[in-house]
Symmetry: C2
Subunit: 233 residues, 2 copies
DNA sequence: GTGGCGAAGTTAGCGTTGCTCACATAAGTT
DNA sequence: AACTTATGTGAGCAACGCTAACTTCGCCAC
C-alpha cells in the first residue's frame, strides 16, 4: 500500500479540532506539544500528550475532552498514545499525578509563609488549596471527580501522593493543637478542615453557589472555619 | 420498504447492553421502563427515559452512561428521545430536577423530626443531605458535578429548586441563631455548613477519603461542625 | 364509522470517539 | 552494515450522539 504522506502534517501541529482563537502563542517549532522539527519520532510524546490533555481540559472542560483532540494538538496520529498508555484513563491518571504534586507544593509553600502554627496557617493552607482549584479548574475536576472511572488498584503512586497531602494537613493541625506527634483529635480536625475547604472548592468550580443564588466570600469562610473549628490553646 | 419488525422487540425490554446480573426484578410487562404491552406508542417515554438513565447512572456510573443504553432499556430506538428532549444534556437536566426535588423533601422531613431549632436540627439536615448522596451516588454526581456541561441559561426551574433548598438551610440557621428573619450571619453560616456537608458528600462518593488513606466518621464530623460553628445562644 | 392531522415512533446514515491491528520508520547496539 | 526494538502510521471496528425522511397510531370533526 506504500506511503501516501511520509513525514505527516509537516510542521504546524497546533490544530486541536477547532480554531482555538489565538490560544497558545507557540511558534512553529518548540511548542510544548508538537514534535521536534519534522521528526518521525516525537521525543517525549507521553509528556506532550499529558500537557495537551491538560490544556484541552482547561479550555473546553473534561466532558468535551477527547484523546483524538489531544493527538491532533500534539501532531500525532490517534493511535500513537497507546504505545505509551494503556488507555484513556491511564493518560488521565498521569495528569492527576502531575496535579497532586503541584497541589502539594502549593500547600507547602503557603504554609511556610506563615511564621507560627495555628489557625492562620491552617487558613492559609486552605486558601492555597482553593486557589489551586480555581487556577486549574479542569484539572482539579479530573483529580477529584473521576476517582471511580480512574480507579486502578495497582496504581499505588497516586494514592501515596494524595496521602502525603493529607499528612501535611494533619501535621499542621497537630502543631496548632500542640499535639506532637499529632493524635486522634488532630486527625479528626484535619479531616473536617479538608472536607470544608474541598467543599468550597467544588461548589465554587461547579458554579453551585451561583446556581443556588447565594453570594459567598470563600476566604472569609475559610478564616471563620479555621478559627472556630480549631480551639484556641 | 415495508415493515421488517412491526411491533419491535416484542415484550422483553430490559436488555441494557450487557446482562446486568439479575438487576431489576421487573416482569415481562409493567416494568417502569418498557412500553405498555407491545404498543407502538410508549405512553410516557420522557419519564421512562429519565428513569432508565437514572438506573443506568446508578448501576454503571455517569461516565459509562449512554443514551442508547437507556433507549435499549426503555425498548425504543435510539432516535426516539429526540422527540422529547433537545439533546443528551436535556435529559440529564430533567433527571437533576427530579433529584433536587427529592433532596429537598428528604431535608424537610429530617428537619421536621427534630423538635427544636438549633445545632442538632442543623446536624440532622446535614446528615439527610449526606444520606441522600450516599443513597443516590450517581444521581448526586450528576446534580452537582455537571453544572458546566448541563448549564442552560434558559433553564430557570432547576435554579429555583436549588435555591429553595438553600433557603431551607438559611431559615434553619436563622432559627438556631434566634434571627427572625434570618440575617447576614445566618446567611454566612448556612453557606459554611452547606459547604462542609457538601464536601463530606463528594469526598465520600468519590472515594477520596479512602484514596488519601484516612478513616472518617462523617456523622461525628457533622455533629462536631454543627456544634462548633453555630454559637450557642 | 371515516378521514385527516399531528405527535411519537421507526430505519438509515453521518461524523466522531476509543482502541486494535498490521505495517513503516528511526534510533541504538553490535 | 545488519539486526532489534521502540515508536510512529493508516485502515478499520463498534458504539455513541444526533439528523433526516418515513411510518404508525391516537384523536377529533364530521
Amino acid at each position: 500500500m506504500a506511503k501516501k504522506i511520509p513525514p505527516p502534517p509537516s510542521g504546524a501541529a497546533a490544530d486541536p479540532s477547532d480554531p482555538a482563537p489565538g490560544a497558545g502563542g507557540e511558534g512553529r517549532f518548540g511548542c510544548a506539544f508538537s514534535r521536534r522539527r519534522n521528526r518521525y519520532h516525537h521525543g517525549d510524546l507521553a509528556q506532550a500528550l499529558v500537557t495537551a490533555v491538560r490544556t484541552l481540559v482547561e479550555r473546553d472542560g473534561v466532558e468535551k475532552l477527547s484523546i483524538s483532540g489531544a493527538c491532533r494538538m500534539a501532531g500525532v496520529s490517534s493511535a500513537a498514545p497507546y504505545k505509551h498508555f494503556r488507555d484513556r484513563a491511564d493518560i488521565l491518571r498521569a495528569l492527576c499525578r502531575e496535579g497532586f504534586g503541584e497541589l502539594r507544593e502549593a500547600m507547602a509553600t503557603a504554609a511556610a509563609a506563615i511564621p507560627a502554627p495555628g489557625p492562620d496557617r491552617l487558613a492559609a493552607l486552605g486558601k492555597a488549596y482553593l486557589a489551586y482549584a480555581e487556577a486549574n479548574p479542569g484539572l482539579f475536576g479530573v483529580m477529584f471527580g473521576m476517582k471511580r472511572e480512574l480507579h486502578d488498584p495497582e496504581d499505588t503512586r497516586t494514592h501515596e501522593i494524595a496521602h502525603a497531602n493529607m499528612l501535611i494537613v494533619i501535621a499542621e493541625v497537630g502543631a496548632a493543637l500542640g499535639e506532637d506527634p499529632p493524635g486522634e483529635e488532630a486527625h479528626r480536625l484535619a479531616c473536617v478542615l479538608w472536607t470544608f475547604v474541598h467543599g468550597a472548592a467544588t461548589l465554587t468550580l461547579d458554579g453551585d453557589y451561583e446556581a443556588a443564588g447565594v453570594e459567598v466570600d470563600t476566604h472569609a469562610m475559610i478564616d471563620l472555619a479555621a478559627h472556630r473549628l480549631v480551639p484556641a490553646r
